[in-house]
Structure formats: C-alpha cells, structure tokens
Amino acid sequence: MLDSAMAALASLADPSLLIMLLIGTVAGLIMGLIPGLGGTGAVAILLPITFGMEPPQALALLIGALAVVHTSDTVSAVLLGAPGSASASVTMLDGYSMAKKGQAARALTLAFLSSMAGGIIGAVGLTLAIPLARPLVLSFASPELFMLTVLGVSLAAVLSRGNIIKGVSAGLLGLILGMVGTSPTTAEERFTFGSLFLGDGLSLVAVALGIFGLAEIASRASQRRGQKQIITLGGGWGQGIREWLTHWTHVIRGALIGIWAGVLPGVGATAGTWMAYGQAVATAKDKRQFGKGDPRGIVGPESANNSVEAGDLIPTLLFGIPGGVPSAMLLGMLLTYGIQPGPSIITEHLDLMYLIVWSFAIASVLGALLCFLSVKQLAKLTKVPFAILAAGLVAVMLLGSFQEGGQLGDLWIMIILGVFGWLLKSTGFPRAPFLIGFVLAIPLERYYFLTDSLYEGFDWMARPGVLVFLAILILPMIWAFIKFIRTRRKTNLDDGHRDEQPEDDEAPLKNSTWSLTASGIFFVAFAAALISSASFSPEARLVPQLVSTGGLIFSGFLLFIEIRRRLRDRTPKAGETLAEEADGIRGTQPAKAGWTLDAKFALKTFLWMTGFLALTAAFGYLIAVTIFIPAFLLIVARARLKVAIIYTGVLYVALLALPSLLPIDLPQGWLNTLV
C-alpha cells in the first residue's frame, strides 16, 4: 500500500500533472467565488476539457477543482453575506457577523485554515476509509439513516438561539417547503397546484441564495458608504494561526462529521455542514456568541464542508454511487476512461486512488494558501459601499441560480423567498432551522417509509445503531431539563432572557406588526398545507399532516403571544374596543415599529429585484442588466457616474464573453424568441 502511495506522490512531480492540478485549483477557486455555481459549475466547465486527456491528468484537474470549491465559496458568504453555495450559508452565520464588526480578515483566516485542514483530514480519511468503507456503508441501513435525519431536524431546536418556538416553527415550515414536488414513496405530486415546474421540488440553490443572500442584500442596500476601518489581525498571521490552533478539536470534529456525511448516500454536503455546526453549538458551554461571530461557528463547518467532498468520493469510487452532482460528473468521466468504479477499483487502479488522495490534499493546501495570501486584499472589499456591490450581486446570484435547471421560475422563487427570509431575519426567526428542514424533508420521509415497510413493527428500534442515535437525541434533552429546573430554583434568570437582549439589534422589527404578520404567515401556511394534504393518498399525506399539525400548534402559540403582547401594549394607551384589537392582525392601526425606514428600503430593494426579473422575462438577461445596473447604481447607490458607466460596461462585456468561455446560459426573454 505504502509503495503505491509513494509512487502516486512521485508521479505528481510530473510537471504536466502539477500544471493540471494548479489549473483545476484556480478554476475551482474562481467558480467557488461566484454565488450559485459551486462544485457543479467547476466540474461542468472542466469536464469537456478532459475529453482527450490521459486519466491521471484529467483526475488531477477535476479533483483539484472539487477540493477547493468550498474554500473560496466562503469569501462572499463572509464578506457580503451572500453564500457562494448552499453549504457556505453555514459559515455565513458567524463569519458574516464577524466581518460586520470589521474582523473580516480574522474570519477569512480562520475559514481558510479550517478548509485546508478539513481537506487534508478528508484526504487522510479517504485513504483510511478504503478498507473500512464497505462495512461502514453497509452498517447504515434505512432505520439508521432515518434516525440520522431525525437528529438533523432536531438540530433546529439547538440552532434557534434561545427562541425554541420560533426555531421549531421555521424548521417545520422548511420541512413543508421541502415536500413540495413529487412524493418519494408514491410518486404523486404534492403542493404543486398542478404546476409541472414545482413537480421537481424547489431548487436548493435558489432557496439558500434567496433566504440568506437576497434577504441580506435587501437589508443592507441602503448603505451607500463602505466600512470605514478594517480591524486587521493584530500581530499578523501568526496570531490568526494561533487563534485557529486553539480550536483544533472543532476542526477535527467538523472534518470527521463531514467525511461521515459524505460517505453516507443521501445526506449531502449542506446537511453535513449544518450538522457540524449543530454539534459545535450543542456541545459548547457558552452558546451566547454563536451567530454573532463565534470563531467556533466558522471553524467546524468550514472544516466539514471540505471534508464532505472527500467523503463523497468514497461511495463514488467504491460503489459507483455519487453523493452529489459534482461527483456524479466525476463518475461519468471515469467511465469514459474505462475505469469502472466498484470494490475492485482498489485492486485494479490503486495508483489512481492514491493519485486522487494526494491531489485532494495538495489542492486543499494550495487553494487555502492562495486564498490566505489574498485575505488582506479580499477584506478591502468591505470598504466598497454595499449598495454598489448589491447591484452586481443581484445580477450574479440570479444568473448563478439559473444555471442549475435553466428555469426562470427558480428565480421568482428565489425573490419570494428573499422577501420571506428578510421577514424572518428582521423579526427574530432563525433561518438556519428553515434550511435544515428544507434539505432533510425528503430524506426524512423516504427513510421513514422504507424503515416502516422493510421492518416488522418496531423491530428496528432495537438495532444498536438506532439505540445510539436515540441516546444522542434524548440524553441532552433530559440534561437540559435538569439544568433548567436547577437554575429556576436558584435564580430568576432563564436562558430566554439572557439571549433575547443582545439579539435585538439583529432583529429590529421584533415585537411589531411585522412579527405579528410573520407569525400569521406561518399559521396560514401550516393551515393551508394541512387542508391541501387531505387530498393526498394516505401514504403521501402522513408526514405532511404530522408536520403541519405540529406547525399549527407552534405557530398558533406564537400568534397567541404576539396578539397578547399587542393587547398588553395598547390597553393602557387608548380605549379601543375589543373587536378592533382582534383586527390588529391585519395592522389596521400602524404599530410603532410598523413602517421603519429599513423596512421601507428593504421592500423597495425587492421591488427593484422584481423589476429586474420582469425585464429579464420580457427582454432577456442582457437588456435587463444594461437597464438595471446603471439605474440601481445611480438611483439607489448614488454611485458616481463614472463608476456606474465602467461597472455596467464591464458586466456587459463579461456577459457577452461568458457564454462562449464557460458553460453559462443567459436567461432568454420574450423578445429573444421573436428575434
């Protein structure tokens, strides 16, 4: 074994291999920077180039790209609050908060170092897993996978930052949204209202970019000035590395969770990264800083999302079962070279296996190094007024999310979810549980039904793996309950109050008409889901009904709290009649935080986005960009005329050149069909 490992390393000294690896790494880094493209885009670009190459060169190229996509997708998540990929939205929670405090360089340094470590640990894991993979994968039957998804969903409570009711409501709504489309067991369409487009379910990229990215843009587009000062790392890189080293346990834990999530088919990079975050929060003693710039919230997930890619290669190579789109493309490439994935790949192509391992490790280091060297330059991006960045970001994010399915409908969904994400963010609903629910909805249902139909009664509950999961699920609950009782006895300070205060600046519209509206939307959505699921077949409606009933209870409670608070606030002021007060849901009387400047600006920004998309639908993407960008820059961002002209000019040229350079399609409008 060692021989072939060394031989593979020696073969990488071949300049043509090294060049390919370098090209792959750079391409992967660039694709990661563009929100919405990610690994799929990187492999899709490089794949046609590899036709005609020798297998080692082609592998070095693709693995190089795959290994570093999740290194650079952090950049836009941390600096702009616009995640480069769905899994980067995890790093965004703490990284972006840190950047807003002026510590962008610190956040990026931590992230890049963790990515590198995650990649290396992933590569080591890939090597070790070669003999272990088969028993590992085979020991995870449907019941274990079901418990794993339950564990993932229960993270919603952990990640709800003190407000469990809001967190669970958001998680349940995410589950419902994830069930839009074809049911996994009965192949019938649910919540699609007869639309074929919805039949495939909502696109993950559109949901993640909408709920986090567009929402962020809307709430910050009013900033016409950049951050004035950037707090650089005092003491330079040395301190960054030293700080990072203090979190080494989180790095390793994150990486291991990532590998594991990658190895198991059906879990996926996004869910795996969230789980790494969830465990970091769950095991931390002091949870208060999470979501507000806790370094542990960056280190764990960043390490995980790189090692997921390595873990993903294990089932791809050893079973021919790809865990994601990029590895599916890699599988296709291997087949074109006559390399048959499967258990025999170890005996027949061991040299290539080690080449993959080494390429992955080297690319991880190289990619992190390149990013690391540019931290200072990248951090300067925060000096640019956000409003100016916003214009280009909207255009790039919509274009990125269009690439996956080529459907304009995805972009409308993205904007609608953007508005919803903004509402959640402003009214203090955590968005992380929402995305977790969305990602895990189908696996949860799938493995529940498979478990139910393949095992008799509750036999599966007695499987050792299931028992372990049950313990992981239940013990912390009991522990938390005991702690709760104890602290209650001692003082009057409970968790809720401690967390609520500092959160208010993040959620300016909490306790206003807006949060009332949000609770109302939740309630109505769950009610609608419950009613429309009545028409499904019994198998297809079980899970949606359970989820929406639960959602009704939680959101009903929220609504009750909100209404009671309104009543309490108002009664001393004026003698309004009871009937009028009940009408408060509709906001007949504007509340004190009813129509703030920020809210007005955010909604206006969404109107701009809608206008942009309407222009796209009518005249195609090119015209939409040439109208939207200068208009937004001049009117909203009030950029200088020169800036606006150069900005639009550069984008215009890029849009003309891109489709011939990269596999990117511009959305076509009604006008294009006429020409």
């Binding site: 046609p48 036709f51 085979l138 039957a141 074809t182 009965t186 192949a187 039949g199 495939d200 000035r225 088919p265 079973f319 021919g320 079962i321 994601g324 789109v325 990029p326 599916a328 493309m329 296709g332 087949l335 074109t336 070279y337 006559g338 390399i339 994935p341 499967g342 258990p343 025999s344 996956e404 399915g405 080529g406 459907q407 039904f449 498979l450 393949l454 509206t517 504007p590 129509w595 007005k600 909604l603 206006k604 109107l607 005249f619 090119l622 015209i623 040439t626 109208i627 200068p630 208009a631 001049l634 009117i635 009030r638 950029a639 200088r640 005329l641 215009y652 596999p663 006008l671 294009n672």
Partner: protein, 402 residues
C-alpha cells in the same frame, strides 16, 4: 405587507422616500443624481443592450444554412430535459462533444439543461418551439418516454412527431440475494414468503421490471421510494430487500463483485429486441437467459399474449432504444441526413467505440438507414398495451395515472 403608499412608488423617484435616509454619522450620503443624468445613462445602456440582443443574434449567428451540406458557423444545441450530472446528461455531453467533430463544418456544441417535471417540461418546450433547421436537438431518455407511454396528461409531446437521429440502447439484469433462499429462476414462484423488490418509483424505469414480474407470475412484493439504483443495491447487500435490477453500465461496479462472493444470484437479463421485434439474448450477457426464456423455464411454454406484448414494447422503449437524439419532424431532409450520417460515421469509428465503450455501456450507437423505421415501430404503443400497463399500476400498486 401593510398597504403603505410610498412602497408602491418606484424608489428614487419619490423625493420624500429616500431623503430621510441620511444616517447620523460623520460622513453624509453621496448627493443624488439629476434625473437627466440617470435617464441618459440608463437609456444609453438600454439601447446598447437592445442593439446587441437584436443585431447580435443575427450578426454573430447568421441565418442558418444547414441545408448546404455543412453546419459551419452553426451551433448544435442539445436540449437535455434533466438536471446536470445524471447518466443522461453525461451521455449527452459526451456524445455531443464527439459528434460535433464528425459533422461537416464542425459546428459548435451547446448543451442546455432544462430540468423540470422529471424531463416533461423541457421536452414539452422542445415539441412546442424547437427550431426546425436541425440545430436544435432533443435528448430523449426513459424518464421522458415512460410518462408518454402511460399517457400522462402533463405530456404535451409525442415521439411520433419527432425524428430519431441516433439511438443507443442499454440492457440490464435482474438479480437476487442468495440468503433470501434464491438459487435460480425457479425460486421466484411457489414461495412461502414473497420476495421483496426495491424500487424507485413504479412510474419510472422500474415499470419494465414490474411488467416482467407480472408476466412471470413471480411471487414478489415491492417497496418504492429509494433514491436511486445505487442505494437499492446497497439495501440488497444489507439484506433489507431481496430483488433488484441494474443496468449494464452499473453491473460491473454493483453486481459482479457480490455474485462472485456468492452473496447474490443473477436470475435473468431483460434481453434485447432484434430487428424483427423478438426478444434475444443481450450481447453483454450472452450466458444469462432472458425474461422470455425464464418464462419458458417456469411455465413450460413460450410467452404470449397481452402481458408479453407489453413487455416487448417496454423493452424496446426503455432498453433497446432507450437514449436517443431527436429533431422535429419538419427538419429539412438534407440537414437531417447530414446529422444522421455523421452519427453513423461516429458510431462505426473504431477509435470512438473504444473510447466510448464504458459510457455507452457496451451498446453501439445506431444510426443506419433502417434505424428510423425500426425506432418508429418500437415507439408505436398500442392501446391495449397502454391500458394493460395503467391497469397493472392501478390494481397492484394503487397508482392512478392522470
């Protein structure tokens, strides 16, 4: 959203809307631009964009001349109605890249993924508005063929209105878990406990296997909902299910190993349709009996009747002629012939065959002169086959096709 008038006004045009934006800080917001500056700048760029869109289309891509014996300056656009990354996508991108080198004039290649409705949306769009000059090509596959066979109301296309340029088949085998007490085909019937088949969805590629089980009168129950064939294979190895099938390209990685270890038994292959429309042995599994032979072993007579007709129809549609490139019926003869002949040249090139053997799963690219007629026959689905299949789904699997 509450009704507040100012939100409806276009931002920026309402002077009151943005003025109070000035935050209490040392640095004031930049001044507003005059309306004239804005209108001029936006107008100029809008004109530029419009000009590029209108003129660029015809300047950069001059009106197509695909009937003059070559495709020079053209771009072959492959409409892949599924998301990128799947088997069909890999197949189409590979074939497209190679094919464009063989078409005279060396056209460009532009794969376009238009996913939605499991392939139905993109194919509907193609049927409605594809260019008929031979530059727009549809990638057809089992996911779009099966709903058409079932007559789903969402399907607005018909393969009878399209012309096949090239087709490529696949094959597959049905195998069982040895520990479930299966040593051969005869263990499919007269069982104490039925065998459990693991499927993805009864209305997908699984349908051919389900019809085969019904034809053989095999004692089988089914569980659907798996994510893909790979996970089904793993479930079989774990002992959760007993029966599975894999297509030829996955056989090597998924089945060959466990058969060698004695954990699984290959029962039969789906077989292939020959030119006369009969089921023959699959060239990739010459030693494995076909479903038709298995019937003979079990029931002592040759298969016939409605069920066998349905099986043969589905075998042709979902295996022998599974993947294909199609153009609209109205495509000019010259352009069509050029594409077909280029595909034929590609398919018979030994260098290509060697390179492509794994992607194509060991089945040739077929584009000879008689191909279109054979495909036409295979894609004729009789009313009785359709009603039998929908009836089987309704009675046995409680699925009502709408």
């Amino acid at each position: 959203m509450t009704s507040n008038k100012s939100s409806l006004e276009p931002p920026g045009f309402s002077p009151a809307g943005t003025d109070p934006q000035i935050e209490p800080s040392e640095q004031p917001d930049p001044p507003k631009h005059s309306r004239r500056t804005i209108l001029t700048a936006v107008g100029a760029f809008a004109l530029l964009g419009a000009a590029t869109t209108v003129l660029g289309g015809s300047l950069l891509n001059p009106p197509s001349s695909t009937e003059d014996g070559n495709f020079s300056g053209e771009t072959l656009e492959f409409l892949i109605p599924l998301a990128s990354g799947g088997g069909t996508d890999t197949w189409a991108r590979f074939i497209g890249t190679e094919l464009t080198n063989y078409v005279p004039g060396r056209p460009g290649f532009a794969p376009v993924n238009e996913a939605g409705g499991e392939g139905i949306l993109g194919t509907n769009r193609f049927a409605r508005s594809a260019k008929t000059d031979g530059t727009e090509i549809l990638v057809g596959t089992a996911s779009t063929v099966v709903p058409w066979v079932l007559g789903r109301s969402a399907v607005k296309y018909s393969f009878e209105d399209l012309r096949p340029v090239v087709v490529n088949g696949t094959g597959g085998v049905i195998y069982a878990r040895a520990e479930a007490g299966v040593a051969g085909v005869q263990d499919l019937i007269n069982r104490d406990t039925p065998l459990e088949f693991g499927g993805i969805s009864a209305t997908g590629l699984d349908i051919t296997t389900l019809v085969a089980f019904d034809l053989l009168e095999a004692d089988v129950t089914s569980t659907f909902g798996f994510e893909g064939r790979g996970p089904v294979n793993l479930a079989l190895q774990r002992g959760e299910i007993d029966l599975d099938y894999q297509t030829t390209s996955a056989y090597g990685s998924a089945v060959a190993g466990i058969v060698k270890e004695g954990k699984a038994v290959v029962l039969m292959s789906f077989g292939q349709l020959n030119e006369a429309g009969d089921v023959i042995r699959d060239p990739n599994f010459p030693d494995v009996p076909t479903v038709a032979e298995a019937y003979e072993t079990l029931h002592g007579k040759k298969p016939s009747g409605e069920k066998y007709e349905a099986y043969k129809t589905l075998l042709g549609l979902t295996y022998t002629y599974q993947k294909g490139l199609w153009v609209p019926q109205e495509t000019p003869e010259n352009a069509y012939e050029l594409l077909r002949q280029s595909s034929e040249k590609l398919g018979t090139d030994t260098g290509f065959q060697e390179k492509a053997s794994k992607v194509l799963g060991g089945y040739p690219l077929v584009a000879d002169t008689g191909m279109a007629d054979r495909v036409r026959d295979a894609y004729k689905v009789s009313g009785s086959v359709r009603s039998y299949v929908t009836g089987l789904l309704a009675s046995k699997y409680n699925i009502h096709v709408e």
